[in-house]
Subunit: 329 residues, 2 copies
């Protein structure tokens, strides 16, 4: 029996949904649902294509109460820049959670992933950063550096933004791209300087050795580490996880394999069992920050639940609107 499937391109998606408090709320709800239980989120399907210098990840999650579930395919082909193509691309498919029928294909080239990843940063900041953030610092100079800065500002309207990257020119370009933000922006001289002066720090790098040292932690600091999403990546000295008053995971089962916790466990530093999850803090099942001087760290590895949440959100936004092509299949 034929039914309508909506096919939406990246350009159309960019026109329909952006980084705003509505998107943050949707991702917050996905984390809450993870905490409520009943979410079905299989391990990531991962295919390593050494021959093509590429990799493909497939993520999905079913969230009770959501009308659809997404399957996201994220290819990364690292010789693409030689061909003038981006390394990362991919798409999301939205299925009806009631019938399994395909409802939409979002040819987003990773845009929705960028969005839901940035929104998760805002959720972490909302629930874990000090109430009052005067200075925020972003480490890294890529797409997520830009988006995380904007996402954080939605929930903690800081007055000053510091940016640091290994390449000072890229850091300046990042600052320039953010010049429309309603705050001062400066490039920091070093990550140590950036951390010292900030109450909220977001790390957005693919680093394989810590960028932030444990000695730099100071009272009233919150760090969101969103760079590490596979074994081998790490942005924070494992000792920092234990020194902090609170270490929070997006998903406990993931951070111990793909996130910062992996290093702390490997080094024999971590003996606190499964870490608190962000959803538990959102739902009030676990205590978050206890006061302005606490040191908190949130580790984001990225979940299929976020993909399902953003895809369902986009579909709701598009309802009744003439966006994309409709195919009867």
């Amino acid at each position: 029996m034929a039914h309508d499937i909506r096919i939406v391109t990246e350009a159309e998606l960019r026109g329909a949904v952006g980084l705003d408090l509505d998107t943050v709320r949707v991702i917050e709800e996905a984390f809450g649902a993870l905490s409520d239980g009943g979410v079905v989120m299989p391990p990531v399907l991962s295919m390593d294509l050494a021959e093509a210098h590429g990799e493909v990840d497939v993520k999905t999650a079913y969230i009770p109460g959501f009308s659809g579930f997404a399957i996201k395919v994220s290819p990364g082909f690292f010789d693409n820049p030689k061909l003038g193509l981006p390394s990362l691309n991919g798409l999301m498919i939205l299925f009806s959670a009631q019938t399994g029928l395909v409802e939409a294909v979002f040819l987003d080239n990773g845009y929705l992933t960028d969005l839901r990843t940035a929104a998760a940063g805002a959720v972490a900041a909302r629930h874990l950063a000090p109430e009052r953030v005067q200075v925020a610092g972003v480490i890294g100079t890529g797409v997520q550096a830009r988006l995380q800065a904007r996402a954080a500002h939605l929930v903690r309207p800081f007055e000053r933004l510091l940016i640091w990257g290994r390449d000072a020119e890229r850091a300046r370009a990042c600052a320039d791209d953010l010049s429309d933000m309603k705050c001062d922006i400066a490039v920091a001289d070093s990550p140590a300087d950036l951390v010292r002066d900030s109450q909220l720090v977001i790390t957005t790098t693919p680093a394989r050795a810590p960028v932030i040292e444990a000695a730099w932690l100071h009272p009233g600091l919150h760090i969101t580490a969103m760079g590490s999403d596979q074994a081998g990546k790490t942005e924070i000295d494992p000792k920092a996880l234990v020194q902090a008053d609170l270490y929070v995971a997006d998903r406990a089962a993931q951070v111990e394999k793909l996130g910062e916790l992996r290093g702390a466990i490997a080094a024999g530093l971590w003996d606190r069992g499964a870490p608190v999850e962000l959803g538990d803090v959102i739902r009030g099942r676990a205590r978050g920050r206890q006061g302005q001087t606490d040191i908190t760290i949130c580790d984001l590895t990225g979940t299929g639940a976020q993909d399902t949440a953003i895809a369902t959100h986009v579909m709701a936004r598009l309802a009744g609107r003439d966006v994309g092509a409709v195919i009867r299949a």
Copy 2:
């Protein structure tokens, strides 16, 4: 950077590619490639949605030398018939094996899976059935019963086809649907009768207890068991696997978990280690049937390599043709 993506519906796919010797050759090549090595085929991503009485499987494989790789999503939602919808549907996405860019979305509702599954039956018959098959028998009365009969006839042009199913009316309907085939067709009284009179038998059921007894095996018989594709399903008495002169798997690592071999291992009957794979027989790395009187069994659980092969084949068929919608994304 925008590129063109072709979106093709089930109806368009049915017009473009069917069950013929060309399709059989493509699937044969996929099995050969599996034997050659270098294929990357991750375990199936499987999501069980008890709440919705549904399940979703994601399969993929990268085959060296193929221009693309497919990711196939197969949802099964078993309350759909109550809504007048089919239980099974889904789609395939074809990616460039060089850049990872999406090349095509095949909204096939499972049609390409039906096709590649039937073609695998023909490949098994070509390489394992006796040279001369006068009577073929199909057990089961669904879509695959029909397709497997036609596929087998492409490579072993038998004179008589027997069909048996638990529901005699469905068996007759199946026979009627095949009345255009160039052979006599009859409904068998029992599976024992069907096996006794056939040189080639294909089982296409979702049975959870053996339909074929080991005592029924006779010289010059080949059986292809394509029904079992998950733990708990079985169509053939495990003793038959040991009694046969040769038992061949589509993929050794799969049949011991999802296929007929699982039962034989569980019963302590199987002590021959990893079974021969169909691709090894195709490539001449393992011996197949040794003579007209051998008894052979082939166990097909379905592989991502078949999906990649059929999707790549479809794309080649569509090249230069105005089929489907082209979206610049």
